[in-house]
């Protein structure tokens, strides 16, 4: 693996509350190679968005990074002064949010929003920036961009707006794009197109992508690697083909069993009984232990660290001492 573009180590995010700090992310670690696409999956509330916001430095108080470090191309960015971090946002790390309908300022023409972003990060002239904006709109597949560039956001459909958002995030050629559920709010019929645009642009602009979604199908088709998150921790992370075909962590198994298979026999939605714990009630030991079909005594006392199994890592005591074979064969039934 080449030197990582992004390296997150032991990231811990806390929310200060009246009853003491709530730990929302705990011990999140992963690397991302240049140009790589990392999928992040997990139930809602697992900490996917917080991970993205922590990386780009946009955690809203009372949330804050309480531990660990984040490095971009080797340089620490989690403790930069605000102005230095601002210069990284948009230029080296771009972010796309869930709802294209509300991501664009309704009162400004999309061309103006593009131009202001381009001018913030480059020394182009106004006219050159507009040329650039037109080129970007063409690239993201907006038909007749010279006609649409002076339109307001409400004049675009949801899918078209998300294309504009992608163009905006890629304005300054960031090396990393964080896409937080970029298609969840969209009509099912355009979701695949938007993912395709995102993937193509990331490739053409040599950007690595952190693709947050709870659509395992999208991950399977798009990502190189995938991280499965649960209760603010990474349960399993590894190459997509491996994790999807043969998940190790019991939670990941439950999640993967829910994807329809190519053979047409849609697997039954393996219901994992119970629900993810609230932040204030994460059980000691393994956070998944109250729901885990394979739980044993140690799980309730000691928290499993990420354990390396081949090229991947799973935070589960079943894989202590690398005993992969026996539990992996046990289907979640």
């Amino acid at each position: 693996m080449t030197a990582p573009l992004l390296s997150v180590k032991d990231l811990r995010v806390e929310f200060a509350t009246r009853r003491g700090p709530l730990t929302a992310l705990d011990g999140v670690s992963f690397d991302l190679a240049p140009g790589e696409i990392l999928g992040v999956v997990g139930e809602s509330g697992a900490g996917k968005s917080l991970t993205g916001l922590a990386i780009i430095g946009l955690l809203d108080p009372p949330g804050r990074i309480a531990g660990g470090e984040i490095r971009l191309a080797g340089e620490r960015i989690d403790n930069l002064p605000p102005e230095a971090m601002r210069k990284i946002r948009g230029r080296r790390i771009g972010m796309i949010f869930q709802d294209p309908l509300t991501s664009l300022n309704p009162l400004l023409r999309i061309g103006d929003q593009l131009v202001e972003t381009i001018l913030t990060h480059t020394s182009l002239t106004q006219r050159q920036a507009r040329e650039r904006a037109l080129a970007l709109l063409t690239e993201v597949g907006i038909p007749a961009p010279e006609k649409r560039i002076d339109g307001y956001p409400h004049e675009f459909s949801g899918g078209m707006r998300q294309r504009v958002v992608i163009a905006l995030a890629l304005c300054a050629e960031p090396a990393l794009v964080i896409a937080d559920e970029p298609t969840t709010a969209l009509d099912v019929s355009v979701q695949a197109q938007i993912i395709a645009v995102l993937k193509r642009l990331a490739r053409e602009h040599h950007a690595a992508v952190i693709l947050i979604t709870h659509d395992m199908g999208v991950i399977a088709e798009t990502a190189d690697r995938v991280a499965v998150m649960y209760a603010g921790r990474i349960a399993e992370i590894g190459r997509v083909d491996e994790v999807v075909r043969d998940p190790l962590h019991p939670y990941a198994k439950g999640l993967m069993a829910a994807i329809p298979t190519l053979e047409g026999r849609a697997a039954r939605l393996a219901q994992i009984p119970g629900a993810m714990p609230r932040l204030s009630a994460i059980p000691p030991g393994c956070a998944f232990n109250p729901r885990c079909p394979n739980v044993f005594d140690r799980c309730r006392i000691e928290r499993p660290p990420p354990l390396a199994i081949g090229t991947r890592r799973a935070a589960c005591w079943l894989y202590d001492r690398g005993e992969v074979a026996s539990p992996a064969k046990e289907a979640v039934s």
């Binding site: 948009g90 949010f97 709802d99 991501s103 300022n105 400004l108 202001e116 972003t117 913030t120 958002v165």
Partner: protein, 326 residues
């Protein structure tokens, strides 16, 4: 756009006719106009003649129509107490009130919007806390008390500013008078304007603050930050504009009520405006003036509503389309 304006104009005329009818009822049926106009010892025959001459014996709908038609020509009859045409009386007082309201509005906007923005952006700063404390005072102190305090401080104790009247005025055109062009006029308007502006400024500041805080939580603000825009751009280009959209309506309607509120301020500062005239007319049951004043206030609000709608369209492209399309 034109169609929208025309439609709104028709609606506005409807409102004015409705208020006009209320004014008519007030005019015709509260007290007897003839009794108000004549002396105690006027003989009955003269009263009958006057009644006939004023058309008070005609059927009510005819009288109502005549009242509306006259009102449309700004003819509101003769004031009972001054024995002068009401339109002349109001016309002579109107510049004073409108000028005061205008200056007060400008003051409340020029101070209120920046204070609201500041308190929203620097919630924890000492200055923001001070502004908020002041705004509580501004909201809870009654207008007349503020006026009296100002008079005590700047007129009685320090002797810097006059405590009553409008100062010297200059005539502009046939009927407008302004105090804004003379030194004594300018000095005279300061305290009444501040008194009138204080409450509005407080309202505007709190509204702007609340809206701004709301807007700062919006997704497009987070996305603007994620694109690396400077805080200044995020605050003043992206947030402020969106903040002002809802603020426009409230501010517009507040400007209307500044004119209505001016009654108290005009009384405290003996400001020769319509508010004072209205108070006198209430004391003397001078119904024609009350009716005309009612219509004037209705007209003012109708105009303000229309302007607010147009401003909305100017600021918010989504409404522009809605208005175009409709």
């Amino acid at each position: 756009m034109i169609a929208f304006i025309i439609r709104r104009l028709f609606a506005s005329i409807g409102v004015l006719i409705a208020v006009g009818l209320i004014a008519f009822v007030l005019f015709r049926y509260i007290g007897d106009p003839v009794n108000q106009m004549v002396g105690i010892e006027t003989p009955e025959s003269e009263r009958v003649a006057l009644r006939q001459q004023l058309g008070l014996n005609d059927p009510a709908p005819v009288q109502a129509l005549r009242f509306l038609a006259n009102a449309a020509r700004l003819d509101f009859g003769i004031s009972y107490q001054f024995k002068q045409p009401v339109s002349e009386l109001i016309g002579a007082r109107m510049p004073a009130t409108l000028e005061l309201a205008f200056v007060a509005s400008i003051m409340s906007l020029v101070a209120g919007i920046p204070m609201g923005v500041y308190t929203a952006l620097h919630r924890r700063s000492a200055l923001a806390k001070l502004f908020e404390a002041l705004s509580l005072v501004g909201i809870s102190l009654p207008t007349f008390l503020i006026g009296i305090l100002l008079i005590y401080l700047f007129a009685v104790t320090l002797g810097w500013l006059p405590s009553f009247g409008r100062g010297d005025v200059v005539h502009i055109g046939s009927w407008w008078t302004t105090g804004l062009l003379t030194k004594s006029g300018l000095k005279s308007i300061i305290m009444p304007a501040i008194t009138l502006a204080l409450f509005q400024m407080t309202l505007i500041m709190r509204l702007v603050r609340a809206e701004m805080l709301e807007v700062l939580r919006a997704d497009y603000i987070r996305f603007a930050r994620a694109r690396g825009l400077s805080e200044r751009k995020v605050h003043f280009r992206h947030a402020l504009k969106n903040t002002l959209v809802p603020v426009i309506t409230v501010v517009g309607l507040q400007l209307g009520s500044i004119v209505a509120f001016s009654i108290i301020t005009e009384t405290v500062f003996s400001w020769p405006g319509m508010g004072q005239l209205f108070l006198q007319s209430v004391q003397n049951v001078d119904i024609p003036i009350m009716a005309a004043y009612l219509l004037f206030i209705a007209f003012l609000f109708v105009i303000i509503n229309l302007v607010v709608d147009l401003l909305y369209a100017a600021v918010d492209p989504r409404l522009r389309v809605a208005i175009h399309g409709a």
